[in-house]
Symmetry: C2
Subunit: 236 residues, 2 copies
C-alpha cells in the first residue's frame, strides 16, 4: 500500500525514569551518554523505538539492557515532542517511569553504560529535557502513590513497617504519625506478617511483612488514601 505523502517522519525514542529506594532516600538510575552531542553528560537511559516493537516493548528492552531485570513495574508517563528538544534532529520521546528494587539491580550489566544511582535530591544536570521528565515523574509518583499501593515495588520481598514508613515519608518529604500510618496500612489487609524479625536496624527488631500478591494486584487500582491531606502535597 502507498505511504502517506508529504509528511515528515521523525525519530521516536523511549526514555526511562528509574526510581530506587535504599531504605533512606530515593534514587534515580542515570547513565553517562556515550554519543555526541552532550557525550559524557548524565542522562536518562533511553533508546530509539525499533521497527518491530511497540512502545512498551521498547521500554522493557531498554530497562532489561541496563539492569538485567524484566519484571519491573513500569508505566508510560508522558510524551515529549518539542521540536528543539534534541538538537541533532527531531525526536519524539515517550517517557516511562519504573520502580525497581534497588537490591536486584545488577551492577555488572550496566558497566558499559556507566550507570550510577543518584539521590533524587542531588542529581547532576541532565541533557535535553530529561530534567523535565524527572520532575513530571516525581509528581506522578507522588500523585499515584497517594491513592494506590505501588511504592512496595521499591522494597525487597520482605520488609518492615518502619521501612514502609520511611518510604512514604521520603516521597512526601514530611512526617506521618506512625500509629495512624501503620493502622491504615494494615487495615488494607494487603500484608502478611512473618515470624522473623529484621534485627539490622534496631535491637528490638521489627517484624517482616510480605505483600499478599493476590490481593495486591486486584487492589492496585483501589483507593487507599495513605496520605493525610493529600492536597497539601499534590498541588500544581
Amino acid at each position: 500500500m502507498l505511504k502517506y505523502s508529504g509528511q515528515t517522519r521523525m525519530l521516536v525514542a523511549v526514555d526511562c525514569i528509574i526510581f530506587g529506594f535504599d531504605g533512606d532516600s530515593y534514587k534515580l538510575l542515570l547513565v553517562q551518554r556515550g554519543i555526541a552531542p552532550e557525550k559524557r553528560k548524565w542522562s536518562l537511559m533511553g533508546g530509539f523505538v525499533q521497527p518491530n516493537e511497540n512502545l512498551d516493548e521498547g521500554a522493557i528492552r531498554i530497562l532489561k539492557d541496563l539492569t538485567g531485570l524484566d519484571d519491573v513495574y513500569m508505566e508510560q508517563l508522558h510524551t515529549f515532542g518539542n521540536p528543539k528538544r534534541d538538537p541533532v534532529e527531531r525526536t519524539i520521546a515517550v517517557a516511562y517511569f519504573a520502580l525497581i528494587n534497588i537490591q536486584k539491580y545488577e551492577k555488572s550489566l550496566s558497566k558499559e553504560y556507566n550507570a550510577e544511582w543518584f539521590p533524587l535530591q542531588a542529581m547532576p544536570e541532565l541533557i535535553f529535557d530529561h530534567g523535565d521528565m524527572v520532575e513530571k515523574a516525581k509528581h506522578r509518583l507522588r500523585y499515584k502513590a497517594s491513592l494506590h499501593p505501588l511504592l512496595f515495588e521499591l522494597l525487597p520481598e520482605k520488609f518492615t513497617l518502619p521501612q514502609v514508613h520511611a518510604l512514604y515519608e521520603g516521597l512526601y518529604e514530611t512526617i506521618f504519625d506512625k500509629r495512624n500510618f501503620n493502622r491504615k496500612l494494615l487495615s488494607t489487609n494487603l500484608f502478611i506478617k512473618q515470624n522473623e524479625k529484621d534485627k539490622e536496624s534496631s535491637k528490638k527488631g521489627a517484624y517482616f511483612y510480605q505483600l499478599d500478591r493476590s490481593k495486591y494486584s486486584s487492589n492496585l487500582q483501589a483507593f487507599l488514601k495513605f496520605i493525610p491531606n493529600p492536597e497539601e502535597y499534590l498541588l500544581s
Copy 2:
C-alpha cells in the same frame, strides 16, 4: 550537525478524543475519514505532527481546525505505538482528550470533515485502534473527575445544580443523592449563585450558578471526592 544513523524514522500523529455533554448524555465528536484506507469510516479527528510544532500545539491546531475553538480543556492521554496500528505505515499516535461545551461547537466549520456527535453509548466502530483510545479516555475521565472539578468544562458558562447532577450521574452511570451531592458541590465554594433561574426544564425553575474561575483554576488539582465509594467505579 550529523543525524543519528541507522535508525528508523516514523510518522507521528495526534488524535483527539473530544467529549461533549448535551444535558442528557455524553457525546463524542467523530469525523468521517477522507483518505484511504478505511475511507468514509468513522474516526477520531487527527493529523500528523508538523516539523515546527510540538505535540500540544498540534493538538490545539487539530481541534481548532475541526471546531473553531481554541481555549479548550485538553490534556495528553497516552501514546499508542503498536507497529501494526496503521496498516499504511508505522505511525505513532499521541492521543489527547478534550472537553468542550457542546453549544460552542460551530457546525459550519466542520462541514468539510463530515463531523458528527455520537452518544458515547452508541458509537459506530472506529478505525485502527481508535476504539482503544476512546476506552482509555473514558477511563481517565472517570478517574480524574472523581478527584478534580473538570467536568464543568462540558457545561455552558451558566449552569444549574440539576445539570451538574446529571453530568456526574451520566459519567458514572449511577445515581447520587441530590441532597448530599449538592451539599458537597457547594461546600467547595467554587460556585457563585446567580439571580436568574433556568425555566427551560421545570416550572419552578433552577437557579443558575457560575464557576468562580479564580478559585477554580487554583483548585483544579485539589481533591474533591465528589464521588462516594470511588473504588466501585474506578476498578481496572
